[in-house]
C-alpha cells in the first residue's frame, strides 16, 4: 500500500514538472526560473492533493474523520505512517485534506483584498486631494497595526468559520494593495505617455483601465504571492487559536492545537506533520513571489532584496 502511494506521488510530481517544462519552454523569460518553477510545483501539488483528498476521502486508505479503529496515540508505523491521534484516527489521511480550509481562505481573502485594495488605490492615486489624504491615513493606520492581532480581533467579531476568516484576513491585507497600486499610479500618472494620451482627449476612466491598471499588474502579482504565503500562516494561527472550522473537520492549524494537549506525553507526530505541511505550502507561495519579483526586476535577483 505504502509503495503504491509513493509511486502515485512521484508520478504526480513528474507529470507536473513535465507540464511546466512544456508550458514554459516556448517563453524565454520563464527559462531558468528555478525558484519560480519549484514554487509552482509545490503549490500545484498541494492544491491537487487537497482537491483529490476532499473529493475522495478514502485516498489514503483511511477516512480522515470517520475511521476510528487505529490504535490510540501511536507513533508513525508502516500502516499509519504519520501516527494516530487520541480519537484513533489516521494522521496522514487528515494531513491530505487538512489544507482545504487554508487554501480556500487564503485564495478568497487575497482575491478580496486585491480587488478592494487596488480599486481604492487607483481611485485615491488618480483623484488625489482630500480623498487621497483621508484614504491614505486610514490605510496607513491599518497597515501599521500588527496584521496578526487585527485578524484575530476581526475574526472574533465576525464569528468563527470559513467565511468570517475570509473577511478578517481579507480586510487585513487591503492596505498592502492600496499602497502598491497608489504608488504605481502616482508614478505612471506623471509619465509623458499618459500626458500624451490625455492631450489626445482620453477620459480618466479610459486612462485608468487601459493604461494605468496594466502597469500595476506586475507589482500586484508579486505582492499577492507573498500575501498568500502570509495568509496560509495567518489562517493556520487563527485555526490554532480555535477560530476555524468546528472540530471533526481536518484542519492543520486545529490539529496542531489538538496535538498541544498531548505534548507532555511526547506525541511529537501530532504537531510535527501539520506544521511541516503548513511550512511547505507557505514556502511554495513565497518562492513563487521570489520568482516573480526576479522576473519583474532582474536586478533584484543579484541583490536579493
Amino acid at each position: 500500500m505504502a509503495e503504491r502511494r509513493h509511486g502515485l506521488w512521484s508520478a504526480i510530481v513528474r507529470l507536473l514538472d513535465w507540464g511546466l517544462r512544456k508550458a514554459s519552454g516556448g517563453r524565454r523569460a520563464l527559462r531558468g526560473q528555478h525558484v519560480l518553477n519549484i514554487g509552482v510545483v509545490m503549490v500545484l501539488s498541494f492544491v491537487l492533493m487537497t482537491v483529490l483528498a476532499v473529493r475522495w476521502p478514502m485516498l489514503s486508505g483511511y477516512h480522515p474523520t470517520l475511521y476510528r479503529d487505529a490504535p490510540r496515540l501511536e507513533g508513525p508505523s508502516v500502516s499509519h505512517w504519520m501516527g494516530t491521534d487520541h480519537l484513533q484516527r489516521d494522521v496522514f489521511s487528515r494531513m491530505l485534506s487538512g489544507g482545504a480550509p487554508s487554501l480556500i481562505v487564503a485564495f478568497s481573502a487575497v482575491a478580496l483584498s486585491m480587488t478592494v485594495g487596488s480599486l481604492f488605490g487607483w481611485i485615491s492615486g488618480f483623484v488625489g486631494g482630500w480623498l487621497d489624504r483621508i484614504l491614505s491615513l486610514t490605510m496607513d493606520a491599518i497597515y501599521s497595526f500588527p496584521s496578526m492581532i487585527l485578524a484575530i480581533v476581526l475574526v472574533a467579531m465576525f464569528g468563527s468559520g470559513l467565511q468570517p476568516m475570509i473577511w478578517a484576513v481579507g480586510f487585513v491585507y487591503i492596505p498592502t494593495y492600496f499602497r502598491v497600486t497608489r504608488a504605481e499610479v502616482l508614478q505612471v500618472r506623471e509619465t509623458t505617455y499618459i500626458e500624451a494620451i490625455r492631450a489626445v482627449g482620453a477620459s480618466n476612466t479610459r486612462i485608468v483601465l487601459r493604461h494605468v491598471a496594466p502597469n500595476t499588474v506586475n507589482a500586484i502579482m508579486a505582492v499577492s504571492s507573498f500575501n498568500l504565503a502570509d495568509a496560509i500562516l495567518t489562517v493556520a494561527a487563527l485555526s490554532f487559536l480555535g477560530f476555524g472550522l468546528p472540530p471533526p473537520a481536518p484542519d492543520w492549524g486545529f490539529d496542531i492545537q489538538n496535538g498541544q494537549k498531548f505534548l507532555q506525553s511526547g506525541a511529537w507526530w501530532l504537531i510535527t506533520f501539520p506544521g511541516l505541511m503548513i511550512i511547505t505550502l507557505s514556502l511554495g507561495f513565497g518562492l513563487i513571489g521570489e520568482g516573480i519579483s526576479d522576473l519583474v526586476n532582474p536586478k533584484r535577483k543579484r541583490k536579493g532584496v
Binding site: 493606520a141 497595526f145 532584496v305
Partner: protein, 343 residues
C-alpha cells in the same frame, strides 16, 4: 547645527500629531465593529444564567450600554483621552491598570526576541554578503526564506517538545517556575532587571531559563527579514566606489568590512528593526499563548474569548500607541545615525 535641531524638532512635533489620527482611526474601527458583533456582552458577563430583566438593565446602565452608540463612543473617547480605558468585565479592574501590569512581560520578551533576531539575522546576513554567491550564501538564503514560512506557534511547540519534554533542559512555559512564582517579588515587572536589583542569583537563573525558548521562538520570526536586509544592504555598500578605493589602497578585508562598509550598511538595518515592532507584536500573540506568558498579547486573546469589550478596545489602543511611539523613536534615531536625512 541649530537649524538641523530646529528642523528635527518640527518634524518630531509633526510626527506626534500624525500619531493621533492613526490611533483614533483604529479605535473607531474597533469600537464600531465591536458594536455590530453578535452576542450581548452583558449576557456573556452574567454567564448566561437565568437572570432577571432588572439585573440585566442594571448592568447595562452601569457599563453605559443603555446609551445610544454615538453617546457611548463620545464617552469612551473622552475617557481614553483622560487615560481612562474603562473597566474589565471579568475582573472589574481598570483596563489600563491591567495592561500596564502585563506590559513589562511583553516588552521583556520582545527585547530578548529582538536580541536573538539581531544575533541570528545580522550575523547570517553579514556572512552571506561576504561570501556572496557561494554555497554558504545559498544556505543562509534558504534559511532566511524558511524562517518566513515558519508558523510561530508551531516552532514554539516543537521547541517545547524537544527541549522541555524530551530533553528536560528547559521549562515548558510561564515566566517563573514552581515556588519561585510565589516567593519572587518583582519591582519593575522586568524580571531580569528585578532579579539583578534584588541581587538574587537563583531567581535570575530561573528567569533566564524561562526566557530562552520564547525568545528564540519570537526571534526566529524576525530573523528572515533582518538577515535579508542585512545581506542586501551590505552587498550594495560593498559594490560602492569608496570600498574599491579602500581595497585599492591596501586595507585588509577585515578593516574594509568592519571599518568602512558596516557603518553605512547599518542605516536600512536599523529602519527595519523599528518596522519589526508590528511583526513582533503579532508574533507575541502566538508566542505568549503557546508559552502561557502573562503579557498584553495573551491578555487580548483571553479578553476576546470572554467578549470583554473594554479590555479588547483598550488592548488595541494600547498596542497602537506603543507601536506608533516606537516608530517615532526609530525615525528620530534614523536622522541621528544618517546625517544626510534632514527634516
Amino acid at each position: 547645527m541649530s537649524a538641523r535641531v530646529g528642523g528635527l524638532g518640527r518634524y518630531v512635533i509633526q510626527r506626534i500629531l500624525l500619531t493621533f489620527p492613526m490611533v483614533f482611526i483604529l479605535l473607531t474601527v474597533v469600537f464600531l465593529l465591536l458594536r455590530v458583533m453578535p452576542g450581548d456582552p452583558v449576557l456573556a458577563m452574567l454567564g448566561g444564567r437565568n437572570v432577571s430583566a432588572e439585573v440585566i438593565a442594571e448592568h447595562q446602565r452601569r457599563y453605559g450600554f443603555d446609551q445610544p452608540i454615538y453617546v457611548q463612543y463620545v464617552q469612551y473617547l473622552g475617557g481614553v483621552i483622560r487615560g481612562d480605558f474603562g473597566r474589565s468585565f471579568r475582573t472589574g479592574n481598570p483596563v489600563l491598570q491591567e495592561l500596564l501590569q502585563r506590559f513589562p512581560a511583553t516588552v521583556e520578551l520582545g527585547l530578548w526576541g529582538i536580541f536573538v533576531s539581531v544575533i541570528l539575522g545580522f550575523t547570517s546576513g553579514l556572512i552571506a554578503a561576504i561570501h556572496a554567491d557561494r554555497p554558504v550564501d545559498h544556505a543562509v538564503r534558504v534559511f532566511h526564506i524558511a524562517s518566513f514560512a515558519m508558523p510561530l506557534f508551531w516552532l514554539g511547540l516543537m521547541l517545547q517538545v524537544l527541549f522541555a519534554v524530551k530533553l528536560g533542559w528547559l521549562p515548558v512555559a510561564s515566566r517563573l517556575g514552581g515556588r519561585m512564582a510565589f516567593t519572587f517579588k518583582p519591582l519593575t515587572g522586568f524580571y531580569v532587571l528585578d532579579a539583578i536589583l534584588r541581587w538574587d542569583g537563583t531567581a535570575l537563573a530561573d528567569v533566564a531559563r524561562h526566557l530562552v525558548l520564547p525568545s528564540i521562538t519570537l526571534g526566529i520570526a524576525l530573523t528572515g527579514l533582518q538577515g535579508r536586509i542585512t545581506r542586501a544592504s551590505m552587498l550594495e555598500v560593498l559594490g560602492m566606489d569608496y570600498i574599491t578605493t579602500a581595497r585599492a589602497k591596501g586595507l585588509p578585508e577585515r578593516a574594509v568590512i568592519l571599518g568602512h562598509a558596516l557603518k553605512n550598511a547599518l542605516i536600512p538595518i536599523v529602519t527595519v528593526l523599528g518596522l519589526q515592532f508590528a511583526v513582533l507584536m503579532g508574533g507575541a500573540v502566538l508566542t505568549e499563548t503557546v508559552f502561557s506568558w502573562p503579557g498584553i498579547a495573551s491578555y487580548l486573546v483571553r479578553s476576546i474569548g470572554a467578549r470583554d469589550y473594554y479590555a479588547i478596545q483598550g488592548s488595541v489602543v494600547f498596542i497602537a500607541l506603543f507601536i506608533s511611539t516606537i516608530n517615532l523613536i526609530v525615525d528620530i534615531f534614523y536622522s541621528v545615525i544618517d546625517p544626510r536625512v534632514r527634516y
